[in-house]
Symmetry: D2
Subunit: 340 residues, 4 copies
Amino acid sequence: MSTHALRIGIIGCGGIGQDHARRLHYKLQGARVVALNDIDRAGTEAFNAAAGLGATVHDRYQDVIDSPEVDALLIASWGPAHEEQVLACIAAGKPVFCEKPLATSAAGALRIVEAEVRAGRPLVQVGFMRRYDAGYRQLKQTLKAGTIGEALMVHCAHRNPSVPDMYVDDMNITDTHVHEIDVLRWLLDDDYVTAQVVSGRRTRNAHNGLTDPIMVLLETRSGIRIDTEIFVSCRFGYDIQCHVVGETGVASLPEPMSVPLRSGGRQSTEILMDWKRRFIDSYDVELQEWLDDTRKGIVTGPTAWDGYFASATAEACVEARHSQRITPIRIADRPAFYGR
Amino acid sequence: MSTHALRIGIIGCGGIGQDHARRLHYKLQGARVVALNDIDRAGTEAFNAAAGLGATVHDRYQDVIDSPEVDALLIASWGPAHEEQVLACIAAGKPVFCEKPLATSAAGALRIVEAEVRAGRPLVQVGFMRRYDAGYRQLKQTLKAGTIGEALMVHCAHRNPSVPDMYVDDMNITDTHVHEIDVLRWLLDDDYVTAQVVSGRRTRNAHNGLTDPIMVLLETRSGIRIDTEIFVSCRFGYDIQCHVVGETGVASLPEPMSVPLRSGGRQSTEILMDWKRRFIDSYDVELQEWLDDTRKGIVTGPTAWDGYFASATAEACVEARHSQRITPIRIADRPAFYGR
Amino acid sequence: MSTHALRIGIIGCGGIGQDHARRLHYKLQGARVVALNDIDRAGTEAFNAAAGLGATVHDRYQDVIDSPEVDALLIASWGPAHEEQVLACIAAGKPVFCEKPLATSAAGALRIVEAEVRAGRPLVQVGFMRRYDAGYRQLKQTLKAGTIGEALMVHCAHRNPSVPDMYVDDMNITDTHVHEIDVLRWLLDDDYVTAQVVSGRRTRNAHNGLTDPIMVLLETRSGIRIDTEIFVSCRFGYDIQCHVVGETGVASLPEPMSVPLRSGGRQSTEILMDWKRRFIDSYDVELQEWLDDTRKGIVTGPTAWDGYFASATAEACVEARHSQRITPIRIADRPAFYGR
Amino acid sequence: MSTHALRIGIIGCGGIGQDHARRLHYKLQGARVVALNDIDRAGTEAFNAAAGLGATVHDRYQDVIDSPEVDALLIASWGPAHEEQVLACIAAGKPVFCEKPLATSAAGALRIVEAEVRAGRPLVQVGFMRRYDAGYRQLKQTLKAGTIGEALMVHCAHRNPSVPDMYVDDMNITDTHVHEIDVLRWLLDDDYVTAQVVSGRRTRNAHNGLTDPIMVLLETRSGIRIDTEIFVSCRFGYDIQCHVVGETGVASLPEPMSVPLRSGGRQSTEILMDWKRRFIDSYDVELQEWLDDTRKGIVTGPTAWDGYFASATAEACVEARHSQRITPIRIADRPAFYGR
Ligand SMILES: [Mg+2]
Ligand SMILES: [Mg+2]
Ligand SMILES: [Mg+2]
Ligand SMILES: [Mg+2]
C-alpha cells in the first residue's frame, strides 16, 4: 500500500492471462495492470472494460514491452510465442514472469538463459506454481528439518480424470510430467542424470491411441530414484501424490483439505476432479512473491535455468520413451550467474 | 484336541443359537454340541440333520439341562425365557452361557446373582461380545498402558442404518445402548452413578414415533463423563464410535479393516451396513474363552453381576428419559463372591 | 488497487492490534493505517516506526475516532474498554471492527445493539474469525448442499494444551467456548434456547482449582443438540473438533493440512500446539471482507446482534455451570434492523 | 470335531515348527500332531513335553514320513533340506505343507513339480501365507468385483526396520521380495514376463555393504507394471504397502488395525515394528484351509508350481540386479496338471 505499485503489462489475455490480471490488480499488494496485448483485440478490450482495469490495449506485444508506463511483464500467450517474447523483455531490460513453458524446446530455453546471463541481472521467472503450494512447502520444510533423514527414493503420481481431444502422446511428459520435473528438483535440491519410461497396461479409457498410464523413472546426481505414474485418463480425480522415502521415515504431500464425510456406507474425503482448483491458492503466492522480488531486483522463484533444465529433462524423457532405454540427461554447463 | 471335549446343550435354536452351535462344534476347540431344545422342534431337527451335529433334540429345556450327556449350557432363546432357564442351570449346578439379556429386568437379573452366590461357585456368563472384540481390547490395552493418562471423558456413538418395525422407544436403550453400558464399564473398570438422556432434533427417517437420535449421559464413580449418541435410523451405516479422552491424549476404537479406495472423486473406506458383520469375529473369541474357562471352573467374561449392572443401568436410563432428569443409578450391594 | 483506500484508525496496539495493522496496511487490498492509539504511547510510536506505517499516534482513542483522516476503526484494546469505544464509534457514525468480546456483559452488548439500531445503519462487526476459516466454510457449504440432510446433533471439542496462570474458572466458557457459541450459531443458522454444563473427571494437570474438562450442552430452537468438550489442559494440542450429525450422514470440520509422516513406528499427522496458528489464515479473509463490506456500507460478518447473542449465551452457560441445571437462554427481542 | 482328525508329522521343530505344531494341535480343528523330527533331538523332546503333545520323536525325517501313524507332513526345517524332504513325501504319497522356499533354486522346485505331476495327484502346498491375510483377501475381492476396473499398475513397498547380520545382498529379493512375487501373482491372476532392478540412494543405515533400498519392476503377461520398493533398513517399521491402480480407481491393502491416538502434538496410528505380528492371523487361516483341503485330497493354496514360479522369478530378479538390464523371466511349460 505504502510503496509505489509496479505497473504490469500482460502479454496474452486468454483465461490464465485474465485470471492473473485480476489477481495482480485486485487481490495482491503492489501492482497495477496498465497494458494488455492479445491476438484477440476485441476480446481484450471487452475484458479490460469488464474488469475495470483502465489499461491500455496494444496491438503488438513489443509496444507493451517498450511502453514507459510498464515496469514489468507477465507472459501468458501460447507456448510457441514465449521464447521471442521473453527475449524481447530481456532486450528491453524489463523483468518478466513467463507462464510455462519458457520455450518449446530445450535449445530455445537455453537461448533465453544465455540472453539473461549476457544481460547480467535477474530478469526472468517461469510459472512453475507448485513451488508455491502450501503442501509442497510443508513437505520441503519437513525434509530440511531432517525429520526423515536424507531422501533416498520418491514415489509420485500425476493423475487426471481425462484429457481433451487435442492431447496426444508425449504431452503426458512435456505438459503433464514437467510439473513434477520442476517441483521435485526444487524439493530435493538435486539435478537429474538419467531418465527411463515404462508403460503400464493400457486403460481402455485412453483416447486416440494415447499410451496411458506410463511410469517415468528419474535418477538424480546424488542417487535418489524417483518414479512417477502419469495417468491422464484415470477417471476418478485430479490426484497428485508425492511420497519421499528417507533414511528414517516417509513424508508425503498432504491431500487438499476436504470435509470428512460418513455417508452411504463410506467414510470419505473429496478428491478434486478439476485441476484448476488443485493449485489455485499457489498462484496468489507465486505472483505476490514475484512482485516483491521484482521490486528488489531479484528472482527467487523458478529461473530461466530451471525452465531450461525442465525442458531438457522432458526432452530426455521423450527420447527415453521412444527408445525404451535408460537415457542420460545432457545439460549445458551451469552459468555461475545462477549460483551454487 | 487333546483334552476331553465339553458336551454342550443349546437352548434356543433360532439364528444365533444355530450360529453358536456350528461355531462350538466345528470351529472352536474342545466342544461338542450334544443336545438341542427349541419351541420349534421340527426346525431344530432339520437344523441338527443339516449341520450334521448328531445331537439329541429335546422337547423341554429342562431335559437338556438335566441330561447326563450335557456338561454345559448355552442359552439363545428369547429374552423373557432367560431368567428361569439360567436359574434352572444354576439349580442343576451346570455352567451356562446366556445371550443378553440375562433377564428382562434388573430385579430378575438380581435373582440370578443371588442364586449363583448361593450356589457358591461361578456358573453364569452373559453374552456381551464386545469385550472380545479386537478393537476394544486394543483400546483397553492402550488405557492400561497409561498412554493417555487417566480417562476423563468418553464420547461414543451407536448408529444403525435402520431398525425393524417391531423396534420401539426404549429399545434404543435396553437393546442398543446396553452394549455400550457393558463394554464401557469393562473398558474403564468403573461403575455408573447417574444417567441422563437428552434428545436431538428428530430425524424424518424415524418410524413409528421413535425418538431418534438421543444422547445418553452417564457419570461414573470416579467422575468420568460418558456421552453416547444413539441413532438407529442414521441410514449411512452401522457405525460404532468410542473416543476416550485422557489426561494427555485421546484414544479411539479402531474402525473395522477396509480396503482404502480412490474412486469417483472420493478417497474412502467402507462403513459396514450390517451389524452382524461388525463383531462377528468376537463371537469366536468369546465362546472359545468361555469353553476354556468352563473347563477350569472359572468365569472371566461378563458375570451375572455384570448382567445385573447392565440391566439396572438401562432401567435408570429409561427412567431418566421419561423424567428428563439426572437420575441416580441405584445398585444392590455387590456380593464379595464377585471380587474386587 | 484502483479504488480509494479506506483510512483506518487502530485503537489498542498490543499484539493483535499490531498484527491487524500490518495485515491491513501491507497484505490486504484497499486500506491504509493512518492513526493509532494505545495506553502505551511509547510502544505504539516504536511500532509505528518499525512497521513504517507513517500513522499519527494519538493519546486519546476519541481523537482517533474523531479524526477527519480516519474512515473506519479497528478496536483491539482490552475487553473492558470495548463497550464505550464501540459506542463512541457509533456516535461518530463511523464503521468499526471490534475484536471479541463486543462487551464484557450481555447487557453491555445489548446497549451497543440499541445504539446501532438508533443510528439506523450497519456500523459494527465483531471479531469472531472462525466464520472465515476455510474448513468451517467448507463444512457450511456441505450442510447447505444437503449432503447429510438436516442437522440433528453436533459433537464438538475445544482443546488447549494449557492455559496461562491468569486463566480461571468461567473463562473456559466466556473466553474459550464463546468461539463455538458464535460459529455454531452461524453454521447451523439457528438460535440457542437452553444450556447445561457437566464436568468430566478432573485432570491432574488443571491448575488453580480449574474445573477441567467440562462439557457444555446447547439446544437450538429447531431441536438440534450440541455437546462441546472444553478441555484447556489437555497437553497434547490445540485441537478443534466439530462433527455435524445429519439425517443421512456425518460431516466434520477438516483437520489443518499437515505432512503425513511414517516414522518411529507411527503413521501420523501434526496437531498444532499453538492456537495462534490454527485460524491465522482466517484473519486475512475476515478483514478483507470487512474492508470490502465497509466500502459498500454493509456488514455481512458477525453483527452487534451476534455479539450480544454470544454474550447472552455465555452468561446462561456460566449460570448453568453454577446451578448444574438445564438453563433457559433468555434473549431480548431481535430488532427488525438485523433482518430475518 | 466330528470328523477324524488328521495325524500330522512335523519335520523341523525350530521356532516356526513349534508355532505350527501348537497351532495345529490346540487351535485349529481336525488335526493332531503325532510325530516330530529335528536335528536337535533333545530340544524337540523338551518341546514335545512342554507342549503336552504326546507325539513320537523320530531321529530321521524319513521315519516320520513313513510312519503309519502319520497322515500328512509339515516341513519347517531349514531351506536347503526342503527339496529332498518334499520329494520324499511325494514318494510316500503323503500330503505335505512346506514352508517357503519350496527349494533353494528354481531347478530344484521344478524337480518337485515334475515329481508331483508324476504322482498324479495334488500333494504339495507351499507356505506363502500372505494369500491368507484378511487384507489381501479383501483387496482381491475388490478387484474381482470390478470396483476399479482392470488392474493397470501396482505400487508396492516392503520395508523392514532392520535385518540381522547374516542378511546379505540378494536376500532382499530371494527372502524378502519373494513374498510380493507370490502374492501379487495370486492377486492379479497373472504371470510375470520381465524383471528390472534399480537402486535408490543408499541409506547410511545399511550394514555390510547391502544395497538398500532397491526397486524391483515386474511386467506381467497382460502388461501390468509392478514396482516394489524393498527397503530393509528403513528403521521406522515393518511396513507393507500395495496400491493397485485400475482403470477407474486405486485400491490399497488396508493397514493393520490400530488404536488411533491424539497425543504429543500428533494424530497417529501404529506401524508394527515386528514382522512376526504383521501376518500372524494368516497362519491360522492358512493351516486350517490346508487341513480342510487335505482331507478332501485337494490343494487350493500355493502349489508346487507357484513355488517354482516364485523361485524362477526371484532368480530373474537377481540376474536383473547384477546385469542392470530388463531381464526376461523364463518359465518351463506349465503342466496341465496345474489347471488353467
Ligand atoms: Mg504455472
Ligand atoms: Mg452377545
Ligand atoms: Mg477474533
Ligand atoms: Mg509362510
